[in-house]
Symmetry: C2
Subunit: 695 residues, 2 copies
């Protein structure tokens, strides 16, 4: 279903229009009556409102409108929306509250609303929302006193109140929007539905969203990945922390995904995460207004040493790089700058600089081939009025077509610069660090754009084998699988330690002889999954010792845990020491299976030093995940330690990601340890939790 009629309607109706001052129906009437297209107020109690003909109902309208806005109470609203459906209206904004957010009765209403929308194929925005503004067609269906200014930012918000805040603030900041959409309860339309229409809108340069949850994680990732190729997406995901997430669920009933899942998901699809409101709009502004840098090298211009130092700190903290100027640039700077000036980056043209000196230096810096972007810092100085300066930086940025941000470290003195800077799309902050941060987000998005998004591979794996093993566990009513299920890993091409399940001590002894010179005996019992804690593992046995050891273990465990079912003993070849790794998986309610990777032992147990990705992973994603781990250099071999087969590690991560994606009934999985050697990896132990339902 296209959103053309919702975002660019030619005709709109307001269900619940009112002539009474102060009533919501009147505020909306006034806001919508300035719509340059065709506007029809609907209210059976009036013939006309403020000179505009009023219609008794949707059926009586002279045409099938592109969009109907509903503000009448919830129960009649449902009937009107159904009427909309019958006459063929395909886009409805439901501002009315009293749905999912209002207890079980409201939830039932919302269910009905969804059902009506489905039956008639209606795009419903809301309910319980603040409406939308499309500055391109001049439509304001909100009860805001002022509409949005036209601009290049498309804004989505899951909080209606935040919409009013942003509108009021943006007016003061003269920040403009192409679209301004309040999502409300997201009963039908959610954030994902708007991404493509916004990306296809030539007036939209950046998509910005305040979200408390994501309705359909998989769709969001798929669509966002496509969209970010042309249009950046910045999201402030509220409810990131435990405290924040509790606040979310008390207020909207959204089941908030854990932050780790959002971080992994946003990384997967190139969405930029803002941590707070300041970042959200700082990022939006530069992404809407500035070209992208070719690399990470920043040229810093200043007339004050201190500012240069602060900017240099920020350059490093935001993972950019101070540019090294070309010989040419430095030579010329040396020629015309006074001897006390600094010709290296940051260029300090000193406090006594005339505008000429500023202009020449900036021209050299911004056009240096080693400079990808520029931050221009200026403390108040008698000879450089900020008005003149603003025209210099605006012209330089325009000509060089490189990103440029500004920190005019002033108050009143800087005011004369504001308009020129705004027209040139140059943000200026008092704090040099903030000006650098704005450049950093441009670089981050440039990296996203450069990335080749490869799909996961089609792996040759034995799906039917895994299906069979999981089905058997299901039949037996088991939700915990252990080392006996190593075949699941083999079926997905992950090397496992040679070995087999023995039902009797005698069989154990026989298997041992086939398996190797030194073996490990592991208890297999669905009820005793922490087998090391109960004496269920014996290491370093020679094959001829195995039968007796098996007998002893079984007797001992049976005596200690008489009620417990013992399936047998796994006889595994004992492997030489290798680098202990862990590959795991958990299922996130919004994004599905996540793959976890890290060092084993205390790294995971105490330090929880692991990384997460959203399954399934492409080979590149698996590699990025492995490389993003702290201490990755240890895998490569560092400080006299031998490295391991990183390619094999990466492939194991990739294969596990396919396994947990292909079998949604696997709700948790731990391969721990996976031993890594210079020539490959071997999975040694496994725990899987499966859901009771086969999906």
């Amino acid at each position: 279903m296209g959103l053309e009629g919702l975002l660019y309607p030619k005709s709109v109706a307001l269900i619940g229009a009112s002539p009474k001052e102060g009533k919501l129906g009147n505020v909306l009437f006034k806001n919508m009556s300035t719509f340059p297209g065709r506007f029809y107020p609907v209210n059976p109690n009036y013939e006309e409102i403020e000179g505009i003909k009023c219609y008794p109902n949707v059926s009586s309208l002279p045409e099938v409108v592109d969009l109907a806005v509903v503000i009448i109470p919830a129960d009649p609203a449902l009937r009107v929306i159904e009427e909309c459906g019958r006459v063929g209206v395909r886009n409805v904004v439901v501002i009315t509250a009293g749905f999912k957010e209002a207890g079980p009765e409201g939830a039932e209403r919302e269910r009905k609303l969804v059902e009506i929308a489905k039956r008639y194929g209606i795009n419903v925005l809301g309910p319980n929302c603040f409406g939308l503004i499309s500055t391109e067609v001049g439509l304001n269906t909100t009860f805001a006193l002022k509409t949005a200014l036209p601009g290049n930012i498309a804004f989505l918000s899951q909080s209606g109140a935040f919409c009013t805040s942003v509108l009021d603030w943006a007016w003061e900041e003269k920040l403009g929007f192409s679209h301004f959409v309040s999502l409300g309860n997201k009963a039908v339309l959610n954030e994902s539905h708007f991404l493509k229409p916004f990306a296809e809108d030539p007036d939209t340069k950046v998509i910005v969203a305040y979200l408390e949850g994501i309705a359909d994680g998989e769709a969001f990732i798929r669509i966002a990945r496509e969209v970010v190729k042309t249009t950046p997406i910045v999201v402030l995901k509220a409810g990131r922390t435990e405290a924040g997430a509790r606040a979310v669920s008390s207020h909207t009933g959204t089941l908030a995904g854990s932050n780790v899942a959002y971080e992994a998901a946003f990384r997967k699809c190139g969405v930029i995460m803002a941590r707070n409101v300041e970042e959200l709009f700082d990022y939006a502004y530069v992404l809407a207004k500035q070209p992208l840098p070719k690399g990470r090298r920043v040229g810093v211009m200043t007339n004050a040493g201190g500012a240069g130092v602060m900017a240099s700190d920020a350059v490093e903290e935001y993972e950019l790089e101070l540019a090294r100027f070309s010989e040419e640039t430095m030579k010329t700077l040396r020629e015309f700058l006074p001897p006390a000036a600094n010709i290296y980056n940051p260029v300090d043209i000193l406090g006594d600089a005339h505008p000429d000196r500023y202009e020449r230096a900036l021209d050299l810096v911004i056009n240096d081939p080693n400079v990808d972007m520029v931050v221009a810092l200026t403390a108040p100085a008698p000879l450089i009025p900020f008005g003149v300066l603003s025209r210099i930086v605006a012209a330089a940025k325009e000509k060089a077509e490189k990103p440029l941000t500004v920190s005019f470290m002033a108050g009143e003195l800087g005011e004369e610069a504001e308009e020129t800077l705004r027209e040139a799309g140059i943000p200026s902050y008092f704090d040099p660090a903030r000006a650098v941060r704005a450049l950093a987000v441009l670089h981050r998005y440039a990296e996203v754009r450069k990335k080749e998004w490869k799909e996961p591979r089609r792996l040759k794996v034995d799906r039917s084998k895994v299906r069979e093993l999981l089905a058997r566990a299901h039949r037996e009513g088991r939700t915990q699988l252990g080392v006996e299920a190593m075949e699941i890993l083999s079926a997905y091409g992950i090397p496992t330690a040679p070995g087999r399940l023995a039902r009797t001590p005698k069989e154990a002894g026989e298997i041992a002889k086939a398996v190797g010179d030194e073996v490990v005996l592991k208890l297999v019992s669905p009820e005793l999954t922490h087998k090391t804690d109960v004496g269920g593992v014996t290491l370093g046995l020679r094959p001829e010792e195995v039968e007796a050891a098996a007998q002893e273990m079984l007797t001992r465990i049976a005596a200690r845990f008489p009620q417990v079912r013992i399936e047998g003993l796994l006889v595994q070849r004992q492997l030489p020491p290798g680098q202990e790794l862990i590959i795991g998986s958990v299922r996130d309610p919004q994004f599905g299976p996540l793959v976890m990777f890290g060092f084993g032992g205390i790294f995971v147990e105490i330090l929880r030093d692991v990384v997460f990705g959203v399954a399934p992973l492409s080979p590149d994603e698996a590699r990025e995940l492995v490389e993003s781990m702290r201490g990755y250099s240890l895998l490569r071999g560092a400080r006299g330690r031998k490295g391991v087969a990183v390619d094999a590690v990466v492939e194991a991560v990739e294969r596990i990601s396919h396994l947990v994606y292909d079998f949604p009934e696997i709700v948790e999985l731990d391969v721990n340890p996976l031993l890594a050697y210079p020539d490959g990896v071997v999975a040694v132990d496994l725990r899987i939790t499966v859901s009771r339902e086969v999906t």
Copy 2:
């Protein structure tokens, strides 16, 4: 030397006053002529300037002024300062540039300046500075067009340009200062000299500094520790990163200490570090205006769910805690709030709230005994004008005497609140996270105030033994000491692995029999300090095997490294496996010896996961350092692992900190590993680098 005459002068002279418009001497003349005390312009070329009598030189002034401000060129300035000294002027502000910052010639001038200042006991501020402002006495000795507004912030800046920026910006923000001091080259007076005078000033509530380096680290720590008991200190240390530090040294010649040293030093003395300009002044504002919270529990008030979620995220991110309201509070909230409101923290009184509802809810929240501070969030809503709201929050804060910050998430609509909030000392930010961050710094400072600052213990150690060992190394021209110097550790009460140096294989065999059942043989050679890398360590020898093994090792090493001097072999008892720790030390140019602590092995080698403290450490500081390590829980015993003797670890850290403090010639030290067991610690290996000069 007191700074009374510098900060609160009764009489001031301006050396270099000028009647000529646009000249610096005229700008300063105008700024200083409004001084309500006695003001004397000095310039031999004029009889009077703008109606004020002008004097030819300092000697001809009718009195010995409290303060002279010098703006004449550098060479004559030196002569005038000497004249000041002769006639008894004890405070001089040198605005003139051309000193250390201006090459070798300037450095020579600065040396002379220091010499003059010492000879006459003159407090020199600068040179190459922007001057100072003392709003309390109405003095402005800067060339700023506007002076500072009176207020409670004392500001120190190492950058003159940053002073002009802050002044202009503060004027617009209506932010006031008690003192405003540009430090310039810090030839004589530096940041440390101002801390106590500011703390003793009843009008100063917070000390704020922009610094690129600290002149005397030890003095700064000692004085700051005293000062923070009554007055908070916030420092923006620029040049924190490698890039930033390079920028510093290209611009002021300060040798910037490494960031790790600054962090450790500021922690040691309770100084709050700001990472950027925004933090610096956000922190200054609340610390100047608000009471301190008793704990970390935040009450959040909102009329918009989304804002509450964002604030909750920030509460956790800034390590505060969402308060749990008392039963009483929740009961009353439930009684009068509408059913859809949230009575738990964050309290959401909904968008349709009247001021009455806001006032009652805020009254309950701020006076709840479980609430230490409050953040009040408000999105624009038709029924609550921000003007009314600002009076409500101001009154509530005043009455409850608890910290309160505000996020009025609005633009123009919020303007009517500004004055009331400013008068009440309540900061308001559009971003809820920033309002929470301001509360967090109040809590941080409250913790600093609560802390008992204990001095390091006087340890019973054998200093003369260490002195003797270091003197011997010095005599022998050695700068590298190794495991043979373990006695240094024993002398400081740190348990070491039993063992002794053997000069011959035979002696090695004899020692082995006395040392234990299993021993380690370690090569001792000042030139081969990485002994494991050259086959200089053999583990697991039985005493009877030692003589032969020693012979073999000596022969092998002598063949491979024929030029190398071998001192002998250390025979050490082989210890059972324990938790490998590392205690190290490096010397910071500004703060002296730093102690490093962390896990051994890959933690330190690959992850560089270590913590630093400034020596010497008190027992509490040593404990805090150990506890601040990531994975500290591993030492305590966690997840089925046995813990180690944490007290012994802490004491070893403390003792090492004394060792490196007592012997400044130890420039680097590594005890690696220190093995920790459930019943104690043992140092197993050691490397020390000593300076060529005995200090």
